[in-house]
Symmetry: D2
Subunit: 314 residues, 4 copies
């Protein structure tokens, strides 16, 4: 493990915020943020990584059971079963209804750029007043409607540390990300989709759910010193297990600093609560940590995020 | 246009049902149906079709407005906007809730194999009693959790007929599908994902919604004589605008015969209510009607279907 | 019918607003508004009106069908039927889920005092900023948790006018309310529950639903000159079919002026969308238009309103 | 406390079931069950009990927080706040959406007669097949649409036992109900509304929620030997804190025997999960345990039950 990561003052945080800030980079009307890094050529290269044809889901099954990390479980009801008489004759149909919050800790989802504000501002210097109780006027999830496609690179921190998972409160620094790159023989680059593994879901599978928010036991995640690395490398998409945050964090007077840096400052396409427990054995078998990734948010006008089911293709 | 398609008697329908029936083909515990046709090699070949890197969504934006084809509109509420005080300080978050029936005519979705029964049976000779009010015990949507990936082939019937769209009640025969293949220079084959365009959504965009069910004005779709073609060719996945059905249909004493043949008899992976209005211009520009398709249902245990956002990659 | 009611200028409206304004009347922390008019003695007198023992619902059955006056129909699903195995043995249970907006035109409901603001203010001079996306901090529906009980008085305007119902756009003036009092031999007084009938629901039963909002065909309701009457008489509760508003209204530059006067200025307990079609025949048989009324909102913390089922007891 | 209550065999249970069975009593089409006991004269007498004019809610505030007794918390979202521009000008409106299961342990609700089946039968010898996934064809909650009104009688068992509440698993026998009647100077009679207090909600307020189902810690309730008493006395309505059941119960091979006897056999109007913690001090001050009760289910076609807010009037 890396030496104990340093504490970051509010002033230092603001300096990092400024240093990674992409406001205006893609024009004042931009709603795509770092998805702009992914050019057609990146998608072609990503497709060229498909060598075996295996596909792996990166999503947690939708969780309908309340628990410490799932205070608002999804509601899912069969609305018809095959007992319903059909006036026109055969066939018969079973149908259902699904309702869910779009940002639950137990539901693999992607964030829209309007999801996070910092000091009254959204990404690209837009005001929080653009998000009313009727929905966001800008930067909703449909900005990613045509899919998030590119080269996925998994950095597997428990593998590096030779542990089953990182414990709540542990943090991963820039130095450690670079060590993981070396250990795995990969390097994050422009337009990449970064899969960041702490083993959050492995721990949940084995020890059960826990309250990983501030009022609870916390979670493992990134140190803020990693964000400039992602910025320099022009990483396009961030797919963590957990949500990338270290809780409690190492920044003075803040919670969830990673969200503010990634989404508000960088306009980064970020997801939450993936699971890599089916992916890891495939990576080990295939002996590679890069693959094609496709992730398609629901096309929800006004959505601040979306449940989704990203997949890796080898 | 083809000559007037023939009416099909109940006896003839049952003969078609038997002739395309895949019950037992992949074992008595199979839950994947025709997805079994897609082998790793098909996925690799599909990836090799990525030549330009363009991606196109095949989904209709989720429709929250009630109408004749949307009696149960999706419910979507902002649960927080950035006005909510965060105890721990910055940043702030906007969040939302989405609820929707999984099989609405205005919501692009995929069906689970438990969705359709015919004469008391589901695909693979399973009893309808396996679907209780608590959910299906078999063949829910998680059977497709690792994604539906393969070569997509669009057959564009309005293009063949030189019309903007097919009118409600018009039907497309096997002969006409083969004509479209010839006109476009493509051929449906084993493991393919068949995109079937009637122009349903184009008509909706231009003329507005209409009630396309039996009590309403109907819709354009397949004639049942096309189903043996799909069976012989080992087509894996069916992605129509509309839902593939001709309403009213040409089969004696039945409604929705296509669903019974495709899902109950064949175990075919079928979706509903896609739109190809963004796809068609890209096909015309690229001068090709084959591309990679990725479609990932939500990973919903017990789901009889799922909203999703399939994409084509050129 | 009364002579054509006069048009009201914005200045006149503001004068009425000031003249009926109860801000501060019951203290700066008051959350009950005109419910304060109902004293124990009024409840006792109301109970003394129970002479025959007949009870009548004043609610419309909850409407699950989308229509021009029901754009967000209630969602209602059976979550279990008796097909579900119970681990412990008998008995078995059928259960359901109900979801609904609290202020639909087709759902009999009561408004909380936080529901309506006028020029940035709620009742009792409170700021609209007390209502966040997480809910109201003040004056939610639980202010009425212990029930709305008192003497109900029905003024039946179609009866006075000898018509089946008032047509959309027709308005009822103070003079006409006083004529109805005389015709029926009743007089609204302190602490009363005023049932105001335009025949809105009768029209709906016979002619079907219509869009009664500003973008549609309108509705019949009160003229703003009636509000000073309700104020002078210290009427506590307003229970209309429709919602009391005349649409389009007779006030310069405003919509829904009745809501602003009743709820924001007066702090009046107001409901929407009752039906009196079962009540009217009982009144005629009993030859009286006063009776005990009990209305109990759901005890919903943070509710801006509540579905409910008020009843009259004769 | 009573001596240890006896265990009841399956055979004895069936004998009790037969002895209290009201099937056919009010005709084969009856959907009201024991509500038939309440005649106009009972309602008049109930109104005559209104002597002071005080009203008290008997409902628990709707619970939106998941917990061991609330696995499916209510969902409640503000759909508009006053930040939404109104095209027509002032006033502005705050609105919300409420969704809830109708039979949650933490939500005061009433059961429809279709809610409970025993050995394939509903009340009045109706088949469980009358309840499909689309809803009950018979005996839904609208059978009680015109309100449940009558004399309420509270039997306060913790008061009798001189404890703050009964502990999970403790049971109340017929003998003890009769002792409570004597101690309080009241007697349950024809058409009465029986409020049964175990102190369930008091315990929850002081010790927090617990899982009171079979897989959990249980709850205090009635012994099945009380049911013949309720039958003989022609009690019309049962309003318990908890749900009347002792868990685990004293009947061989069964769970929830009270529900089967009350609802399936007797057709009794039964509610769940009331609270009497505001009522008890009023009873003690007024020195009486009888009062008028009004309870009005939502008018929900197809409902197997309804949230409601019953009140007592003194």
């Amino acid at each position: 493990m890396s030496p104990k990561p340093s504490f970051v003052t509010a002033k230092e945080f603001d300096e990092i915020f400024q240093s990674v800030c992409n406001w205006g980079r893609w024009g004042e009307d931009d709603e795509k943020g770092t998805l702009n890094y992914i050019k057609y050529e990146h998608i072609k290269k990503a497709a060229s990584l498909v060598k075996s044809g295996r596909t792996v889901s990166l999503a947690i099954p939708i969780n309908k059971v309340a628990g410490p990390d799932n205070p608002h479980p999804a509601i899912h009801y069969l609305t018809h079963i095959h007992d319903i008489d059909i006036p026109q004759g055969e066939p018969h149909f079973a149908m259902d209804f699904l309702g869910s919050e779009c940002h639950g800790d137990c539901h693999t989802h992607v964030d829209a750029l309007c999801h996070v504000s910092y000091k009254g501002k959204l990404y690209n210097d837009k005001s929080i007043s653009t998000v009313t109780s009727h929905g966001p006027k800008l930067m909703d999830i449909t900005a990613f409607a045509h899919g998030i496609v590119g080269r996925g690179v998994l950095l597997d921190i428990p593998r590096l540390r030779k542990v089953r998972w990182l414990e709540p409160g542990e943090t991963v620094t820039r130095e450690e990300l670079e060590e993981a790159e070396q250990a795995q023989g990969v390097r994050l680059g422009e337009g990449d989709i970064f899969l960041f593994r702490t083993g959050h879901h492995r721990r949940r599978l084995e020890l059960g759910p826990w309250n990983n928010e501030y009022e609870g036991e916390g979670k493992a995640g990134l140190h803020v010193d990693t964000i400039p690395l992602l910025h320099e490398r022009k990483v396009a998409v961030f797919l963590p297990d957990g949500d990338g945050e270290t809780v409690p964090c190492n920044v003075e007077g803040m919670a969830y600093p990673i969200h503010a840096l990634q989404i508000t400052a960088m306009g980064m396409v970020c997801a939450d609560s993936l699971q890599f427990e089916e992916l890891v054995p495939v990576c080990e078998e295939e002996k590679r940590w890069e693959f094609m990734v496709i992730a398609t948010p629901l096309r929800l006008p006004g959505g601040t995020g979306s449940l989704f089911n990203p997949i890796a293709i080898f």
